[in-house]
């Protein structure tokens, strides 16, 4: 089973894209998100044997590190956002044919409340179950499932609004 491997690079290959995407919810640039993932991954790797669900713990580490980083940089970000444009770095890989839809989904994802976006990322791109998401976010599985449904519904609404000429 993948979650039982002791090779950290396998863990990073498997979960890295979703972890960076999750960290991007609290950062404005990819470099900051990768800094967060680095710190969280090292913390996870040192403590992985003491936790019940390592995959859920890995995502929880990313969220905690992202929140710590977000609090420390809140003032700096407010100043930067007042003067700079939102970053244009893409969240997803895709072909040119998919570029328009990808951009629309990225934009809609950024508009989601953080509590819904994090559940969506963990479920859709992280491949976690609702109990795992609940463990990572320290909430109930029902709450995680509800947030997931709200997130999908809201995302669809926003995409539908953007598609209307």
């Amino acid at each position: 089973m993948l979650d039982c491997t002791d090779d950290w690079s396998v863990w990073l290959d498997r979960h890295g894209p979703a972890l960076v995407l999750l960290a991007r919810q609290w950062t404005t640039c990819r470099a900051d998100a990768e800094d967060i993932v680095q710190e969280a991954f090292v913390r996870f790797w040192r403590s992985r044997e003491r936790v019940e669900d390592p995959a859920a713990y890995l995502f929880a580490c990313v969220k905690h590190c992202a929140l710590d980083s977000h609090r420390g940089r809140a003032r700096q970000l407010r100043r930067e956002q007042a003067t700079a444009r939102p970053e244009a770095e893409p969240l997803f890989a895709g072909s040119l044919e998919q570029d328009e839809r990808r951009t629309a989904i990225e934009s809609a994802l950024r508009e989601l409340p953080a509590s819904q976006a994090e559940v969506l990322v963990m479920k859709v791109w992280g491949g976690l179950s609702f109990p795992q998401i609940a463990a990572a976010l320290d909430t109930s599985a029902n709450t995680a499932a509800s947030r997931y449904r709200y997130a999908l519904a809201r995302l669809r609404e926003q995409l539908a609004e953007e598609s209307i000429p």
């Binding site: 894209p17 979703a18 972890l19 680095q38 090292v42 890989a93 895709g94 479920k123 999908l152 669809r156």
Partner: protein, 156 residues
């Protein structure tokens, strides 16, 4: 498959950008750095472990400290005994029975023999005792010296 599931499948078709190669290299370096102290530190010998263990240190130092305190206190006690003035108990006892000195013992002994002997002893001690030197106690009602008072009365 309901609408949500279909939409979720569409979303899942989008692949998040993978982490950069630099991120993997940084993680590898940090994990190697964390693992380095465990691998490179030589195991401590028994004597080194003993010297680093606080319990060993306490066990070694406690008897030494106790001995040191004991000898210090003992040395102080001896010095106090040396410095202490010798108690002269012989002299007062001998003086008490010395009939040449006025004492209760000598007076009682003389009185037991005869009143003449008591008188004689009192006379003897009276000749040895120094004369009292009464000192005039001055009481002044004014803060002026005698010469000043005389001159003042003279003016009157």
């Amino acid at each position: 498959m309901n609408e949500h599931d279909q939409f979720a499948a569409d979303l899942a078709a989008l692949r998040p950008l993978p982490p950069s190669r630099e991120l993997a290299e940084r993680i590898a370096a940090e994990l190697a750095e964390l693992a380095k102290p465990v691998d490179t530190v030589e195991p401590l010998s028994l004597s080194q472990r003993r010297s680093h263990d606080p319990l060993w240190l306490a066990a070694l130092c406690a008897p030494v400290a106790i001995c040191l305190i004991y000898f210090l206190l003992r040395g102080v006690g001896e010095r106090q005994q040396i410095n202490m003035p010798e108690s002269n108990t012989e002299a007062p006892i001998a003086a008490a029975f010395d009939e040449s000195l006025p004492s209760l013992w000598s007076y009682r002994r003389a009185a037991d023999k005869s009143l003449d002997q008591l008188d004689a002893l009192l006379d003897k001690h009276a000749t040895h005792s120094p004369e009292p030197k009464p000192q005039r106690a001055g009481a002044y009602a004014f803060a002026l010296s005698d010469s000043e008072l005389e001159s003042l009365f003279g003016e009157l």
